[in-house]
C-alpha cells in the first residue's frame, strides 16, 4: 500500500499552476503531484524516497535557476535523469473577469523573470503602468483572482488562468517565440521512461571534472574524445566547482545512449585523461504544449 502510494507521488517545484507543474502533469497525468518550495527540497524528496520522481526546471526557467539544479545534482544528490520535458514559454496577460472590459490597468504583477521576458510588449503597450515583482507567476495570478476590486493584471501561463478563473486579456505576450524551458525528471534508479514519440533521439547527460592539475586546453581534449567518434554534443557548459575560483566542471549532453560502444570507449578515454565522469543516465524527450 505504501509502495503503491509512493509510486504515484511526484514532487515538483511549486507553487501549483507553475510551469513545472504543467511539465509534470504532461509526463504523469494520473499521479499525485506534490509541490515543493525550492529545488533542493524537490530533489531531496526523491533522494529520501518520499516520492518516486521529481520534476525540476533545468534551463531557461522562470521559477528556478539552472545553476541550482545542476549544482545540486553534482554536489549533493546521486540521482538519474529518466526523461526531459521541453515546454514552450507562453506568457499571457491575465485579469479578473470583472475587469476584462477595463481600458487601462492599475498595475501588472509577475515574477521578475516573466516581467523581463515580456519586456518589449510591456514597453510598447503598457509603458506607464507600474510593474510589480511577485514571488511567482502562479502566486501573482492567485492574488489577482482574490482582488476583483483592484483593476490589476498578472503575467502567467494558461494553467494559472484556468486554475484561478482569470480572463486572458492578451495571449502570447513573451518577446521570443522559440524560447523553451527544459525540465528534468529525476529518479533514484537509472532507468528511462518510455519514449513518448516512439522515434525520439536518446540523450545522455554527463558531468565531467577535469584533472586537478588543470592543463591549458583540457576542454579541447575532452571534446576531442567525442568529436573523433562523431558523438554529437547538443549542449556544453562549464560550471564553477565551488572549491575556489577558476576550478570548473563541465556538463555535456551527448546525443547517444550511454550503453553504446562508442560511449563506453569515450568514458574509458576520459578516465585515462584523468577526468572524473558522472553519467546522469540516458533519456527521451517529452514535449509539453
Amino acid at each position: 500500500m505504501a509502495e503503491t502510494s509512493l509510486k504515484n507521488r511526484i514532487s515538483f517545484l511549486g507553487p501549483e499552476a507553475s510551469f513545472t507543474h504543467l511539465a509534470a502533469s504532461r509526463v504523469f497525468p494520473g499521479s499525485t503531484l506534490v509541490p515543493f518550495t525550492s529545488i533542493p527540497e524537490c530533489i531531496e524528496a526523491v533522494a529520501e524516497g518520499s516520492v518516486e520522481y521529481a520534476v525540476v526546471p533545468l534551463e531557461n526557467a522562470l521559477e528556478g535557476s539552472v545553476p541550482l539544479t545542476v549544482d545540486y545534482l553534482f554536489h549533493e544528490a546521486q540521482l538519474y535523469v529518466v526523461a526531459e520535458v521541453l515546454s514552450p514559454i507562453s506568457q499571457h496577460l491575465l485579469v479578473h473577469p470583472d475587469n476584462a472590459g477595463a481600458e487601462s490597468l492599475e498595475a501588472i504583477y509577475s515574477h521578475p523573470h516573466a516581467l523581463a521576458q515580456c519586456h518589449k510588449f510591456l514597453y510598447y503597450t503598457y509603458k506607464n503602468t507600474p510593474l510589480e515583482q511577485y514571488s511567482s507567476t502562479a502566486a501573482a495570478a492567485k492574488m489577482v483572482s482574490e482582488l476583483p476590486e483592484r483593476n490589476i493584471a498578472a503575467i502567467g501561463n494558461e494553467f494559472s488562468a484556468e486554475k484561478y478563473g482569470l480572463t486572458i486579456l492578451q495571449r502570447d505576450i513573451h518577446d521570443f517565440h522559440f524560447n523553451h524551458t527544459r525540465f528534468f525528471v529525476l529518479s533514484k534508479t537509472n532507468h528511462r521512461l518510455e519514449d513518448p514519440s516512439h522515434e525520439g533521439q536518446v540523450k545522455t547527460t554527463l558531468m565531467i571534472s577535469p584533472p586537478k592539475d588543470d592543463r591549458s586546453g583540457v576542454l579541447h581534449q575532452v571534446l576531442s574524445v567525442f568529436a573523433w567518434r562523431q558523438l554529437n554534443l547538443s549542449k556544453i557548459e562549464s560550471r564553477p566547482l565551488k572549491t575556489g575560483l577558476g576550478n570548473y566542471f563541465f556538463i555535456a549532453d551527448v546525443l547517444e545512449d550511454e550503453q553504446a560502444p562508442m560511449m563506453r570507449g569515450a568514458f574509458e578515454e576520459l578516465a585515462a585523461l584523468g577526468c572524473e565522469v558522472k553519467s546522469l543516465g540516458s533519456y527521451f524527450t517529452y514535449k509539453s504544449e
Copy 2:
C-alpha cells in the same frame, strides 16, 4: 551639465540593497546609482543613453538570471563589457532588533533562490519554521524592518541589514562557501575601466555563432582555434539561438586581450570556418567583499 550628470549615473538591477547594488557601489563609489526593475530595463537605460554604465548580474545571481543577460546582449543590444565584478555570496539571517532575543521564529522570508542557497542551514536549524517566498532579498529585509510586532526573519546580505536597521541573528548561513556572483559593467563604447589591482588578468568575452549548416563537432573545431594558440578559456557555454530547437551559439571567456595578435588570428580563423564572432570587449576584474 547634462553630460556631467549622465557621466555620474549608473543603472543597476534593483531594488536598493540588492547584491547588484553592492557590486555597483564597489566600482562606482561616488556616482548616482539608479535601480531598475528588470535586466532588460537596466541594459536599455545605457543603450538609450540615459545612464553611462549598467551593472547587471551574469552568473549564479540571486535576483536575475544568467540566460536573460546573455540573451539580451546577444539578441537585442550592441554594448560592451568594460569590467566584471566578482562578489562572494554571503547570506545572513536578519531580524528586527526588537526580536533579536526571541527563541524561535514565526517565519523566514526571502527570494526563492536565497532560500534554496541556505537549504542545509534551514533544514538543520529551522526545520519546522515556515519558509515564505518574496520577490527579492532586499524587499524581504524591508518588510521585516516594517513589522517589529511579528517575530519573522529575512535572509539577505549585510547591505540590507544596514539599510533597514536589522540585527544579524546568524552570519554566513549559505551552503557553499566558494560561491560567487559575477556581474558585468556595460557601456555603449568599447573601452575598459582601470585594472583595480594593477596586475590583473585581462579577459575577453566572445559570442560565437556556428555556420548555419551546423556540422557535427563544430564546437570542437571552434575550440581547436583557441587550443593550438594556447589561448585559455575560463568559461564556455552553449545557448539556444531561439530560431528553433537545436540551434545554438556559444559564449566563451578567453584569458587574453582582444587586440593581442593571437586573438586577431583566432578571429580570422573562426570567420574562415563560417562562424560569426561578436566580441563584447576586454576587461579587468573588480572583487567586491
